[in-house]
Symmetry: C2
């Protein structure tokens, strides 16, 4: 029927401000739509002259493929999700930058969902209309409970970035939490410190990260047959921000525990604690040596600069994105679920004295 011909096709012009489609390109190049599609998608068996004609028409019309139409047809959106608590926490901001860079290499876009440290926020990242926008999800849960683990078995690939080991059936890419916290604690023990406060310890609603890092702290003491002083163990009520670190070390100091070292479970806690120590007239590292965790950029420019555990964040981002893309593509993906632990190392700076 004549009505099948589109209006701007009838007019025979390129349509002015209108956006060119494959039909327009095909008409200008004198080929079929399928051939244009083949050229656009790099299909190999195309005569060079044909390809040149098509490419000429494409650049003449300023044609760009309509990703929405491709998505509808192919069932893939070319986007992956990144669900993290908030970007204002440097660790997640830097992780997001690295995920975005790795995604660019893979040719996929990233849709970031802040989950706000809440269970509801995390469940919303898994369900809802957002799920239809992405082909897979990088998920860093901190508030979900073990009982929610079954929700992770979705009809599309999920790679967990956090430390919550919910299920051996799901891919995890994460850091050596136990080893990192143990190495941080051992650094202080090597320096002769014995009254080492720990900030971010697990309490009732413990997060996986907290449990694992505390285990590293505990192991370091146990290996040397030293006892833990419960007054030196501080947990935080509302997250691991700087303010929580300041409050936590204040509670330790007020208890009369007189710490000579601090292991903080992230850099923000360490920075807050260092601030509070210095405000109270204690010298870092002479009176109290401090070690953080995450090696965020913040840690380089405190005074003194902060000794911290580098968890291998770029490696985590790259491995996780590559793995997720393989799962989505279905090619080259390992048959078994992956548990990848990134390379870890302690970065010694001014908040701990030099080791001899």
């Amino acid at each position: 029927m004549a009505t099948l011909v589109r209006a701007r096709g009838v007019a025979g012009t390129s349509g002015g401000g209108d956006v060119a489609t494959m039909v327009d390109v095909a008409r200008l190049a004198g080929v079929s739509v399928k051939t244009v599609s083949n050229v656009v998608n790099g299909y190999p068996h195309i005569r060079a002259t044909t390809r040149d004609r098509v490419l000429g028409a494409i650049s003449e019309l300023g044609y760009e493929v309509n990703i929405t139409a491709r998505s509808l047809r192919s069932g893939r959106t070319g986007m992956i999700g990144l669900a993290v608590p908030e970007l204002a926490q440097s660790y997640f901001a830097e992780l997001a930058d690295e995920v975005l860079a790795a995604a660019r290499v893979q040719g996929v876009e990233v849709l970031i969902s802040p989950t706000g440290y809440t269970r509801e926020g995390e469940l919303a990242a898994l369900a809802g209309p957002r799920r239809r926008l992405i082909d897979g999800l990088l998920f860093s849960p901190v508030a979900m409970e073990a009982a929610d683990a079954s929700l992770l078995e979705l009809d599309f690939p999920v790679v967990l970035l956090g430390e919550q080991i919910f299920s051996p059936a799901i891919d995890h890419v994460t850091m050596r939490n136990v080893e990192g916290a143990r190495a941080a604690t051992e650094l202080l023990l090597d320096l002769g410190r014995r009254r080492i406060a720990v900030l971010g310890a697990p309490h009732e609603n413990a997060r996986g990260t907290s449990i694992l890092r505390f285990e590293g702290y505990r192991q370091a003491f146990e290996a040397r047959h030293l006892d833990l002083d419960p007054r030196l163990v501080a947990w935080t009520d509302h997250g691991w921000h700087r303010v929580n670190g300041a409050q936590a070390i204040a509670a330790v100091l007020d208890s009369g525990a007189e710490p000579d070292g601090v292991v903080a479970f992230n850099d923000a806690l360490a920075i807050g604690a260092m601030h509070e120590l210095q405000v109270r007239g204690l010298r870092v590292p002479e009176d109290v040596a401090v070690v953080g965790f995450d090696d965020t950029d913040d840690a380089r420019y405190t005074l003194p600069s902060l000794t911290t555990v580098d968890p291998g964040r770029p490696e985590i981002a790259r491995v996780a994105v590559d793995l997720l893309c393989k799962r989505i593509g279905g090619e080259g993906a390992p048959a078994e679920p992956v548990l990848h632990l990134a390379q870890m190392r302690v970065v010694e700076r001014g908040s701990t004295p030099h080791r001899r």
Copy 2:
């Protein structure tokens, strides 16, 4: 024709792991597809019993509307872009969190593109396939040149967040740069400081932000008939990170200029500078008072805590998202291009002595 009936329709089952479509819902509810669409989109004139039947079928099948198909049909994706240099810079990370929150209120998704402080990165955010994924763009350019301004006149809405006033034809939502820098400088002058270094001053490839904030610094001196010492004016080669602040103040100190105050054009520069000052044995604020710009969370937990200019970031995010959504919807949008300057204020902390 019989071939139009889909395979799983013939089978008459719900299709197991298959995803339900409007056709499935319509069949189960015994209504037409159009009616399902009406219910989903909140069309008012529907009989209550019909709506209930449809809603029942929707929940029974676990149906969710296919956003991709809706996008193809409607020509909108329901996503907006946010193009900023990098998330690792706290200002942009906190801005991104606030944009995401405002977008959630508006019911749109946000696609973040890091532009890496490069002209190519910024042009890529405007062109390329990414453009087809979003209905509008929040754009914070720092490297584009005035000659590129015409590229901003796209076939879809753009709201500029940066300070580059390229064209009066484009919506801008930004901060009071001149007033903020002037207020910061005047605070130091009020305290009796006269040798006030400025970090982040414009040089050849000047960014708009730098030019505007330097103008504020200049005005404060001019208003008091004081001269500028060029040795106190420091620009940075590679961005406004902490390391650049440390290098810039080092250059000032090495010139023998002996500053008693510092105005840094963002908090990262201020933190780097404060670090370098203290490493060299200078006391903040006694010997050198320091003021930053941006009121990032970083500024609260330096030692001393950092006096800074709060540029009204949450207001910027909210106003920009709301304006962009209005432009996209075409309803309630102002006829003229908007220039919105957010409320600004100086937050006094420990890096400047108390004013009497």
